[in-house]
């Protein structure tokens, strides 16, 4: 091919409106064999040395909470229900309060600060320094009326709280609701799981400590902690937490498979002796303990240029799809261990053979200059629905079924070495998307994707060309389920780029990482563009899970959106995949008065936030941070406009989108 003829490369055609309409009629929907092919993921040795794919330490994936969520438990007093409590307020200059419960708008909240002057917050007569903000509390897909109170210029100390309700408006068994309190003091409780091996019969717990304004531990500040665990069986387990290295902790052995919620309340004392209280809420799944890796792995011949890396199980009580990964180490010319590459991918547990396989492009050996002996390190098998490790092994020596090929010089990493090539046997059935089938549309499109528990949010008029508006209304999906739905939806497009909101961004990145799809063929500057995606999770996941007991399940608990779940998931996303993501974060306009996006989430999130995610947790290391804008919130109904209505950014995303 000559140079001049190279220059005649044709640009892709057919993204214009008329073609869109015509093809809706003539193009039959089809899918090759109804399967989505797995990628055989690999990452270079430097990523291994950088620890990019190490499982996150649980102490780094906890939740920092600046507030306290105190259960309101009514008692009958004559013809009314009353709850009283005295709580330590460490900074009276700015105290925010809210009652959160179904029907809480009919409850009456009174506060007696340490100066002894009782204030009935619900009355229309406003006390000096009292700000009231009424609005909608968005809890997942459900909006509840809520009122936030803010008392300014009061004194710290013991405050008495009283909530009064009519008998028919609240229950008297258990918590009828919660009193949320956030003082002006920046101290936060930081709570994290003791392990990510969240399996039945395997001990798990939580450790809670206190952090100062700069995020540093507060030595000696913790006085006591109480944890309440709600199991999938509906049991409520109450633990008095034990002192442990300046923190408090509890541990238990879960019996049930399913979501567990934990509410931790920690009382502490500042250096000046003033007491305070904070709480954090968590959710985590417990999976059945069904897999146990064996002692030695093997590498066997596969297709030309490829080897199959086999990790055997000593015990495989389940089959099905998992995410398998491992570092491959070899030996360099000096006889020292050297990393070859990191291998990963969706894999099907071969229960009969008792093994799971990864695939090695032999060129990695030449790139690394590595010879036998080989071993696997950091071997792990994770659930694909929530990236919880099902089985792990620190190292597995490798037996070679056949000699490895001779090393070649001058081998460089090519894109196909990072993803492998489609193989029929490495695939999962495409979800039969009847709606997508009916559309019968092809072409190079831009897919507009919504988020968790949501519906079509993007203003279509802000975008041009062939558009695919993904709709999976008000559902709760793991990243993997979400990604497979996108694959099914995108099966109508020859290629597509993604503009995603919230979880849609993570789902698109998951799809791009683990499966072959139309994303692989998209051409253009930005493959995946996301706004307000909680790549590092959101503490709201745990809070909403706890509140779900009161408000109903709503869309349900989503571990992938929690701080722990997102960290486990993110450990499997290679740098090469992340580099194709362009993302934005936003937050409320920082001004006078109530500065927040969402009345409720303001109690749980650390500023700045968009009402659902904190700016810090919206970051995706290795991706393209396109900036942070104030004055835009996560969803409609929040204080500032929803960021998906930012027509200026939408125009930019539209112009630069790969399709």
């Amino acid at each position: 091919m000559t140079a001049w003829t190279r220059c005649t490369r044709r640009a892709r055609s057919g993204m214009l409106g008329p073609a869109f309409v015509l093809l809706a009629v003539v193009m039959p929907w089809h899918s090759a064999d109804g399967q989505v092919r797995y990628k055989q993921i690999a990452a270079p040795a430097d990523r291994v040395l950088a620890g990019v794919h190490d499982l996150p330490a649980p102490e780094r994936t906890g939740v920092a909470s600046p507030s306290a969520m105190i259960p309101v438990q009514f008692e009958v007093e004559g013809d009314r229900l009353v709850w009283r409590s005295e709580l330590p307020i460490d900074d009276g200059s700015d105290v925010r309060m809210m009652l959160l419960a179904p029907g809480a708008e009919q409850w009456r909240l009174s506060v007696t600060p340490s100066n002894g002057v009782r204030q009935d917050l619900h009355t229309k007569a406003r006390a000096p320094g009292l700000l009231v903000e009424s609005g909608a509390a968005l809890l997942g897909d459900v909006s509840h009326p809520a009122t936030a109170y803010r008392l300014l210029d009061r004194t710290a100390g013991a405050w008495r709280f009283e909530v009064e309700a009519d008998p028919l408006t609240a229950r008297t068994e258990g918590a009828a609701g919660y009193l949320l309190i956030k003082t002006g003091h920046p101290a936060r409780v930081y709570s994290h799981l003791t392990t990510h091996r969240l399996l039945t019969g395997s001990e798990v717990g939580l450790i809670s400590g206190l952090l100062d304004a700069s995020g540093e531990p507060m030595p000696g500040a913790v006085r006591e902690g109480v944890a309440v665990v709600r199991t999938p069986a509906g049991e409520e387990l109450r633990f008095r937490m034990k002192a442990e290295d300046g923190a408090v902790s509890f541990r238990f052995v879960p019996e049930y498979v399913g979501e567990h919620t934990v509410r931790v309340t920690v009382r502490g004392v500042h250096a000046d002796g003033s007491p305070f209280v904070r709480s954090s809420q968590h959710v985590f799944p417990v999976l059945a303990n069904e897999l146990e890796l064996g002692a030695r792995a093997s590498i066997v011949p596969d297709r030309p240029g490829t080897r199959r890396v086999v990790a055997p199980f000593d015990r495989a009580d389940r089959g099905g799809r998992v995410i398998a990964s491992a570092e491959l180490w070899g030996t360099d010319d000096a006889g020292a261990s050297t990393p070859v590459c990191w291998l990963s991918g969706m894999a099907d547990v071969d229960r009969e053979a008792g093994e799971v396989s990864l695939y090695l492009d032999e060129r990695w050996l030449s790139v690394a200059g590595a010879r036998a002996p080989f071993e696997l390190r950091e071997v792990r098998v994770q659930c694909c629905a929530a990236a919880v490790p099902l089985a792990v092994a620190e190292s597995m020596p490798i037996d070679l079924a056949a000699p490895m090929p001779a090393l070649r010089s001058g081998v460089t990493v090519t894109p196909d070495m990072l993803t492998g090539r489609p193989r029929a046997e490495l695939s999962v059935s495409l979800i039969d998307d009847a709606a997508a089938r009916a559309r019968a549309f092809a072409g190079h499109n831009l897919m507009l994707v919504h988020g968790y528990c949501s519906s079509g949010v993007w203003p279509v008029q802000d975008f041009s060309g062939g558009l695919e508006v993904f709709l999976d209304q008000n559902q709760n999906r793991s990243h993997d389920e979400f990604a497979l739905l996108m694959a099914a939806f995108g099966d109508n497009s020859k290629s597509f780029g993604v503009v995603a909101h919230s979880q849609g961004g993570a789902a698109a990145l998951h799809l791009w990482t683990y499966y072959f799809s139309g994303l692989d063929w998209a051409e253009g500057a930005r493959l995946i563009q996301s706004v307000g995606t909680p790549y590092q999770g959101t503490p709201l996941a745990g809070n909403l899970a706890v509140l779900g007991d009161l408000f109903g399940a709503g869309c349900g608990v989503n571990f992938d959106l929690s701080t722990d779940g997102s960290a486990l998931w993110l450990a499997g996303i290679p740098t090469a995949s992340r580099s194709r993501v362009h993302y934005w974060t936003t937050s409320f306009e920082d001004g006078f008065g109530f500065d927040f996006c969402n009345l409720v989430s303001d109690f749980f999130l650390s500023d700045p936030d968009d009402g659902v995610i904190e700016r810090s947790r919206g970051q995706l290391p290795g991706a393209n941070n396109m900036g942070h804008l104030e004055g835009w919130c996560h969803s409609q109904g929040m204080r500032d406009p929803a960021h998906y209505f930012d027509s200026s950014r939408n125009a930019d995303m539209n112009a630069n989108a790969a399709r």
């Binding site: 091919m1 003829t5 005649t8 490369r9 044709r10 640009a11 892709r12 055609s13 057919g14 073609a19 093809l23 003539v26 193009m27 089809h30 899918s31 090759a32 064999d33 092919r37 090519t414 894109p415 196909d416 993803t419 090539r421 489609p422 029929a424 092809a442 072409g443 190079h444 099966d491 109508n492 497009s493 020859k494 290629s495 072959f516 139309g518 692989d520 063929w521 051409e523």
Partner: protein, 267 residues
């Protein structure tokens, strides 16, 4: 194009049709009796490949010597197309057809391979298929020597008289391309006419497969064919000994003509 000779010369074709049995015998015989030669003709259509059809065709004449018999075919394609999975490419010649490209990797992707460009030689000898090479972010996506979608062995035994017709069609909406260059390489052998007529079986056998040796076995085998009035014994027009021109009947002139050819043997 990785492999071709660029002679644009057109050699006059004077090929003759011969009876099927004899042709196959000749093919097999030539393989051992004569050395293989190659002829390549390249054309640069620089023709647009319209979206979703119609078919783009290129006729290529490859002139071969008289009595040349094709033993192998290779086709070089240089196509610029941003979605090569849209393409179906066929090669036709003398009533036979082979498919070179048929929506590459359609089994893997709903709209087949989305890779850019083909710059490869298609050969039955290749073990790698275009599907094996289909991968994102590599252009040209299909390079080197690759196997055609269906075997080109259907052309073996034919002569080069008829034009070679390459048909390229984009079968899926969206995306267009350009066919820049097509090269047809024919591997063939040329054998002495007498040898090819007389060599009808393998020594010591009655298989009907030529072995490059004209001996008593051939005579004996032909005799049995002639005695049974087998159509393959019809090698000349009645009364005229022009071997290889059957007249629809088996008579003494055929036997006489065969005897004449047999007596010449193989050079």
């Amino acid at each position: 194009m990785p492999e071709h000779t660029t002679s644009q010369a057109r050699v006059e074709v004077a090929g003759r049709k011969i009876a099927c049995l004899i042709a196959f015998a000749v093919i097999a015989g030539l393989a051992s009796a004569a050395s293989a030669q190659e002829a390549t003709v390249c054309v640069q259509p620089n023709a647009a490949i319209p979206d979703n059809g119609p078919v783009v065709q290129a006729n290529i004449d490859v002139s071969l010597p008289a009595n040349a018999v094709i033993t192998d075919v290779r086709v070089g394609l240089d196509i610029v197309h941003p979605w090569i999975g849209d393409l179906v490419v066929t090669l036709s010649h003398d009533g036979e057809q082979a498919t070179l490209v048929d929506q590459i990797a359609l089994v893997d992707y709903p709209f087949a391979c989305g890779g850019d460009d083909i710059d490869a030689v298609f050969s039955d000898a290749a073990s790698i298929t275009p599907r094996d090479l289909c991968a994102p972010n590599i252009a040209p996506n299909i390079t080197g020597v690759v196997a055609p979608a269906s075997s080109m062995s259907v052309f073996a035994g034919l002569d080069g008289a008829a034009p070679w017709v390459i048909s390229i069609v984009d079968v899926t909406p969206f995306d267009t391309g350009v066919v820049r260059e097509i090269c047809v390489t024919l591997v063939y052998t040329v054998e002495d006419a007498a040898c090819s007529i007389a060599d009808v079986t393998t020594t010591g056998q009655t298989s009907g497969i030529a072995d490059g040796i004209v001996d008593l076995s051939d005579f004996s085998y032909y005799l049995s064919l002639w005695a049974n009035s087998e159509p393959s014994a019809d090698i000349t027009a009645s009364g005229i000994c022009v071997a290889g021109i059957p007249d629809g009947g088996v008579d003494l002139s055929d036997f006489s003509c065969y005897l004449s050819e047999w007596s010449l043997g193989c050079p």
